[in-house]
Symmetry: C2
Subunit: 83 residues, 2 copies
């Protein structure tokens, strides 16, 4: 199980990551960028000096498409950056 | 003059940048990261595949501190990345 929260309107997964320093935030964002490019999924990303908020929409772009196992896999791959 | 919008509650500068591709978005974010580290100012940054939204708070962390020339200079330095 991952720690993402499922939200509605629109349907999405969200997770907040907090860091102790800007350097840690930057390193996470660098790895996240590489991952996004390699799997061609681009979550919405909000960040400041020591936090990153991610919003992952369903992979299907159809209106009201549900979250699927593939979306949960993407979330788990993002979590794995911190392992 | 720069194209940032001054907002209140809290007092801040905001600007949205739009790009044609993820590569352009990433290049802008890379340069922005270098600039932020060099001037030690860290705006709140929100981005997706082809957009970046920036929020710049007043440099002074006192409550209700106004925006100053230094904040406008920071905004102009960010704009200059795209020149």
């Amino acid at each position: 199980m991952h720690e993402w929260k499922e939200r509605t309107r629109p349907i999405r997964l969200e997770r907040r990551f907090e860091f102790d320093s800007y350097e840690q935030t930057r390193d996470f964002l660098d790895e996240l960028g590489k991952l996004c490019e390699s799997i061609n999924r681009f979550p919405d990303i909000s960040f400041g000096k020591t936090y990153v908020n991610l919003t992952l929409m369903p992979e299907s772009e159809e209106e009201n498409a549900p979250l699927t196992d593939k979306d949960n896999e993407t979330a788990s791959k993002i979590d794995a950056i911190l392992d």
